[in-house]
């Protein structure tokens, strides 16, 4: 079947042909059935991945699309988590209100790094956002309201009679928000805003010469990324039911950067694949050590010792062998099958 596009609407459509639509239907059905086939532990890993996807999408809009480096993404996740914790735990605000408020609070506080980003670039911006992350971590540790490194409880989602508490229920909830976040990011990328982000990333002076307001779009990129992070943080807080500052240290920010770099910068699919990979590696190591424990106990212990090294090695090898990230691999496979049996 030919795949010609005869108007702009077809060219910019989210789901461009029958194949894509069919795969989407298969994907949705799989996601609906999956909770009945997987164990609670496997579902908990998918829940974690779903939350990571939301955070990674936000960071990719900022770094991958707009070219503004941020080492403080974990801080915005923390702001979202603690906003939900405080709103729900202290004031009894329901989930449906606290979730968007968490995103908005993070977006509002992103102005603290968004505004200086107008004058900072590259490494200087990276350092500025890094410092912001440390400040937030310090506040969480020392502010009485956030209760130090012991952390604070987050109530269950729901009202009398119905609560979202099982892994299965959380799976549907988190995947719903991950799907919405993906659709919004996809849409945003093809709007004037998304194209302005890309123009700023490619050459900011040229973008300004074309009439794109740098201040407006840079601040907007920070706000959108922070909103995504805030929502991810809120979901994480409700899912884990207890938050501690140690959950949101610099390693979280680095993990998010690793997700988008390994997944593929400037692509929505890359954010998803990267989030799955980075969240999945530690769990894959757990499965590996468990599988080896009976037969090769020494090797299993060695893997535990070298866990961080293995994690790093996977990242380095992926970057060396596929600089475009997982999206690069996906594209190559896609082209191979599209042109098969021809090479090009």
């Amino acid at each position: 079947m030919a795949n010609f596009k005869v108007n702009y609407r077809e060219d910019t459509a989210l789901f461009q042909n029958l194949w894509v639509k069919s795969w989407l239907v298969i994907f949705i059905v799989t996601m609906l059935v999956l909770p009945f086939l997987l164990s609670r532990y496997q579902l908990s890993i998918l829940d974690e991945m779903g939350i990571a996807v939301i955070g990674a999408l936000g960071l990719n809009l900022l770094i991958g699309y707009t070219g503004q480096i941020s080492l403080g993404h974990g801080a915005f996740v923390a702001i979202g988590a603690y906003t939900s914790g405080l709103l729900a735990g202290t004031l009894g605000v329901p989930f449906i209100i606290s979730l968007p408020l968490s995103g908005m609070t993070a977006a509002l506080l992103s102005l603290i790094v968004g505004v200086p980003s107008l004058r900072l670039k590259g490494l200087y911006l990276a350092l500025g956002t890094l410092a912001f992350g440390f400040i937030i971590e310090y506040i969480l540790f020392h502010w009485d309201l956030t209760r130090g490194d012991t952390g604070m409880a987050v109530p269950k989602i729901g009202t009398e009679g119905f609560f979202i508490e099982t892994e299965r229920q959380f799976f549907y909830l988190i995947m719903f928000f991950a799907a919405v976040a993906t659709l919004v990011a996809k849409n945003l990328a093809r709007t004037k805003i998304g194209r302005s982000f890309v123009a700023i990333r490619d050459r900011d002076i040229a973008a300004e010469a074309m009439g794109i307001s740098l201040s407006k779009y840079k601040i907007m990129a920070f706000a959108v990324a922070a909103f995504y992070a805030g929502v991810a943080g809120s979901l994480m807080a409700y899912y884990q039911k207890w938050i501690v500052p140690g959950n949101f240290d610099i390693t979280l920010s680095i993990a998010y950067i690793a997700m988008i770099v390994l997944g593929g910068m400037g692509t929505v699919l890359g954010s998803i694949l990267g989030a799955i990979l980075i969240t999945g590696i530690p769990h894959a190591i757990v499965y590996l050590t468990d599988a080896l424990r009976g037969t090769y106990p020494n090797l299993s212990n060695l893997i535990v010792d070298l866990k961080l090294g293995i994690f790093g090695l996977v990242i380095v090898l992926t970057l060396l062998l596929e600089p475009q990230g997982l999206v690069g691999i996906y594209r190559r496979i896609k082209v191979y099958w599209k042109t098969w049996p021809f090479k090009y």
Partner: protein, 403 residues
């Protein structure tokens, strides 16, 4: 056709749901006729890696002995030692793994206060008894049905430190140097509560940030306040740095600290300068011949690797003993739970452990429906710089300060 397809899909979903639920209903998680699955979460790869292996050693030796001597009500213990990386995120992953994948009945040890706090809801939701280490008052006050602390907490030990100093010199001027986190703050609170109870007050306080090794300003603050004794709620590197600073200042001030600093590397770091350094701990030194210690040594010799562990002078034996106290408490609870073992009977079993004799190793263990901390008592030890070991200077006692 479409309606038929929907019908089949719904039927399939219902069947799957029912089958999954029926499996859950038929069994008790972590318990079979022959086995009880228990987890021990320690740091084997993160910043607390120093503490993980000795605790795991104690668990393995004790479990080997229990299994070899008939098990618990006919069941053997299947011990799962999992790396928790000590950080909250990694601890959460480890807890999920042992609860949701391995399906353990209880987590008999978790290293790290923040990580323990993070996994309490997961444990409560899945009815898993949790024994947190590095525990603070929040774990038993107001408390949680599923959390038991078989360990004297920092608040109680700091109270004991101040009371001991004041018992020797009722007019002693006491200062506190503490780490600026929940661990240090709980020490400060315990010391402050004891000072108030003894109708005096702390004359100087100096917090420090994690990782600090230069204590010149802190010690100057203490010197200016003309203190007679300094309570240190610090970790090993900081205590060693303070001992060296004390020597540098040629100041003969009494230092008293907590159990985390009572390890052999203290002598390696400070040499004979550690002489006279005191600490509060729930655990007796391993070189003593108390019945509880003797029993541990015998079991370690038979089931463990004594040459590399308790007979090795560089081995952090205090951590081994801490692990021992935890698994011993858990096993008593399991025994008391009886043949009909499940999470509820385990809680009841633990709550019925009363004055269980630890042979002087640590305070006897007592839990109750309203008491999920085993004891408030501790010992006072003093460093013998020449012999490079700690000796008991005051036996196991509870502080008089209300806990």
């Amino acid at each position: 056709m479409r309606n038929k397809l929907w019908g089949w899909s719904v039927l399939l979903a219902v069947v799957l749901c029912l089958s999954v639920n029926s499996v859950w209903a038929a069994t008790v998680r972590g318990v079979t006729d022959k086995e009880i699955k228990i987890a021990c979460l320690v740091d084997l790869s993160g910043p607390g890696k120093y503490g993980g292996p000795p605790i795991a050693d104690a668990f393995r030796d004790y479990v080997a002995w229990v299994n070899d001597t008939g098990g618990i009500n006919g069941r053997k213990i299947d011990l799962i030692v999992e790396d928790n990386g000590i950080l909250p995120t990694t601890t959460m992953n480890a807890a999920k793994k042992v609860i949701l994948k391995d399906e353990v009945l209880a987590i008999a040890f978790n290293l790290g206060s923040a990580g323990s706090s993070a996994i309490v809801p997961l444990c409560a939701e899945n009815k898993v008894v949790l024994m947190p280490h590095g525990a603070n008052k929040g774990f038993y006050h107001p408390g949680n049905k599923w959390v038991f602390v078989p360990h004297t907490v920092q608040f109680s030990m700091a109270s004991r430190a101040v009371e001991y100093i004041l018992s020797k010199n009722s007019k002693a001027r006491i200062g506190v140097i503490y780490q600026d986190d929940d661990f240090g703050k709980e020490g400060l609170e315990g010391a402050g509560a004891a000072a108030t109870f003894m109708k005096t007050k702390l004359v100087a306080q100096a917090p420090y940030k994690t990782g600090t090794i230069d204590f010149t300003p802190h010690m100057n603050t203490m010197k200016e306040a003309n203190v007679d004794a300094i309570v240190l709620w610090t970790y090993l590197p900081q205590s060693a740095a303070i001992i060296k600073q004390k020597v540098k200042m040629a100041w003969d001030v009494q230092l008293i600290s907590n159990n985390t600093t009572g390890v052999p590397p203290l002598f390696a770091l400070t040499g004979e300068a550690a002489d006279g350094y005191m600490l509060v701990t729930p655990y007796a030194p391993v070189h003593t011949d108390l019945p509880g210690i003797k029993r541990i040594k015998d079991i370690n010799k038979k089931y463990g690797n004594a040459a590399k562990t308790l007979e090795n002078p560089a081995y952090p034996d205090y951590l081994y003993l801490a692990g021992w106290g935890y698994i011993e408490a858990m096993v008593q609870g399991l025994r008391k739970a009886g043949k009909d073992l499940n999470p509820e009977t385990l809680v009841k079993g633990l709550e019925s452990v009363h004055n269980f004799d630890m042979g002087g190793l640590c305070p006897n263990i007592t839990f109750g429906p309203k008491q999920h901390v085993s004891s408030f008592s501790s010992l006072i030890l003093k460093a013998d710089g020449k012999a490079k070991r700690f000796v008991i200077v005051d036996s196991i006692k509870a502080p008089k300060t209300p806990q």
